[in-house]
Subunit: 384 residues, 2 copies
């Protein structure tokens, strides 16, 4: 096992009706900025539940945070936080609202001329406006970590930052409010959570059997409960298991003491930035090609994945590894998820050229061995 | 899945040499009370590592906290904390030092005439002196939870309390400092951690597949790594895996959203209080008889335990459940752990009489169904 240093202070309030708990979770004297997305919370009752939980409180609203939240939008909220002296941010939505709200929280307290430096230059975020979350979409795990990914329309960039100051103080997880989600969003959430686990699991062995089994526990549960909740969207138990699995896929726990990859995410972010496909779609397109390209380095863990998660009885590691990739692709297809660039009308050569050029300019090397350079990225995308 | 509300703010600093990190984890202006046990930390180098990590700091010492820490000892430290205006408690030791230090932390800030009420009357602990931990013995999980169990010599009682205010701010887990532990302490730690998982797992199904698999992950890892670290005490990797498993067995995580039992612990505490056997020894003695007594109610989960953890291929649930108990007893024996009251020269009838009388007087009912009354406790102990 590798050394590590881990803390996750987010309080998880899980269950039916838990939005009503907001009144105890936010201080009575806080001035709250409630952030949300395109307005679906007004249709599914979440908006009303939140407002009813906070009668007489000082709450300002900021709606309209997009999927792949835009810097250009968020910076308006930063001005509002400063102008109105907001003391608490309440994110009501999925990963995009959560990520956007983390940026608002960090940028409002940023000590420098331009908060874009948090993303573009890795400027450290030492403090942030406290924030809490009401989750409406199980997918990104953003409700219980300090990560955020923000896009900038002007430059076509999609960049990440992380800060201990950006962990939500609390996350309300009421599976009941997610039952009305459209199937494509549920499907994307399953694939996103699955990929979060694979990024922390499909690397190389470091004698960390507990972490391995915990990663496998989430993968098996997603394989079991994901199709159940898609087949029967009103099944509360299946949805609850999906919600809890998605949170745990990226609350940091399974990644402690083990190597991590994240190259599929880094390449996927660029596909979204250049071509606009959804985050989970980008991951499902990149992973098969990337794992095949890196199969020599990832062989041992892919073979373990095949045997323990997919129940593959194949003694040869390389063959088992190939089967693990094929079975994962089949699983994604069974959920209705496409796995080829051509499925989205994107030319592999064009994607490889644009993205590898950008990585070359940035000098980026990806993966658990930092061995995937711009040339390898072009090869990987050519085979997507 | 059941509803839950969970927060674990403890920062885990894991790895070789991590005691040196103390200087960044404790505030430079804190007045620290360093608590420890019988002095083994002076022999194994931990004392020196702690003092070297805090040069020039304001550190007072309080040694001599016993196994099954005594109220009569701890109350002296409470007076010291008040008299010297201590602002931070640093527990250096295993579960007993940790638990004792939590009581010191709570009692020093207790708003009432007699802090024993925290244990005897469940008086709420709303605040405590902040504390941190340097763990020297993987076993109880106390380094990352808000629980403590305290004994009182005068009355022969052993009682528990819990408070969110008593979570350690940080826990330093350096597996290297545990390599010199005597075999019986390592063995007790393995059994203690194993039993913590069983108390949260062997109840009844509530459709919580992720929690089940996470519990099984810890059990399998203890079965695999426990014997390895006993056979080769200098194997750092095996010890690291044991340390991380023991922490996770009782940091609260696997118990969220599922029923919990804890009757083996409640009866075991009384065996320790009346007859002085070690905590883990008491659990290994009570569990087989208790699980057999409750086999009808626990059958489904015991059968799952048999099939998934012990690899038992038995279609009948009751037979599989019996096999799970037998295999667990065999595992404990293989570690050198005894499982009968007679092994300790304790008469089962006497134990049953004393302990059931005490539970009857307290009106206690135990177990996930609150169905184990004083009469059942007498039957269970008669068969131990």
């Amino acid at each position: 096992m590798q050394d590590f240093d881990y803390r996750n202070p987010t309080r998880i309030v899980f269950g039916k009706g838990s939005i009503a708990r907001l009144k105890d979770l936010i201080g009575p004297r806080d001035r709250v900025l409630m952030t949300y997305g395109g307005g679906s919370i007004r249709k599914n009752g979440v908006y009303d539940q939140v407002r009813q939980a906070l009668p007489g409180r000082d709450v300002i609203e900021f709606g309209g945070i997009q999927s792949n939240p835009l810097y250009e939008t968020l910076i308006k909220a930063v001005a509002l936080v400063k102008e109105r002296q907001v003391t608490f941010l309440l994110a009501v939505g999925g990963g995009s609202v959560l990520d956007g709200t983390k940026f608002i929280a960090a940028a409002a307290r940023f000590d420098g001329p331009d908060p874009w430096a948090i993303l573009a230059k890795g400027a450290p975020v030492k403090t942030a406006v406290p924030l809490g979350a009401v989750l409406t979409l199980p997918a990104t795990g953003s409700e219980s970590n300090g990560f955020a990914v923000i896009s900038r329309h002007e430059t076509g960039e999609k960049l990440a930052f992380a800060s201990d100051a950006c962990f939500p103080c609390f996350a309300i997880l009421d599976p009941a409010v997610t039952l009305s989600l459209p199937a494509n969003q549920v499907r994307n959430g399953i694939v996103d959570a699955f990929m979060h686990v694979l990024e922390q699991y499909v690397t190389y062995p470091v004698n960390a059997p507990l972490q391995d089994r915990q990663a496998e526990a989430i993968l098996k549960t997603l394989i079991e409960e994901g199709p159940k909740t898609l087949a029967n969207p009103r099944d509360y138990d299946a949805r609850a298991n999906l919600v809890w699995s998605a949170t745990q896929a990226l609350n940091g726990w399974i990644g402690q003491g083990v190597p991590q990859d994240w190259s599929t995410h880094m390449i996927g972010h660029e596909l979204t930035a250049f071509f606009g496909i959804a985050h989970a779609e980008s991951l499902a397109v990149v992973m098969p090609s990337l794992f095949r390209h890196e199969i020599a380095a990832k062989r041992a863990k892919l073979a373990q994945f095949a045997r323990r998660v997919w129940g593959v009885n194949e003694p040869d590691d390389l063959k088992a590894a190939e089967t693990a990739i094929a079975r994962t692709v089949e699983f994604f297809h069974s959920l209705g998820m496409k796995t080829r660039l051509a499925d989205y009308g994107i030319a592999a050569g064009e994607a490889g050229g644009k993205i590898s050029s950008r990585f070359r300019a940035r000098g980026v090397k990806l993966g658990e061995h930092q061995a995937i350079d711009a040339g390898a990225v072009a090869e990987i995308l050519a085979a997507c």
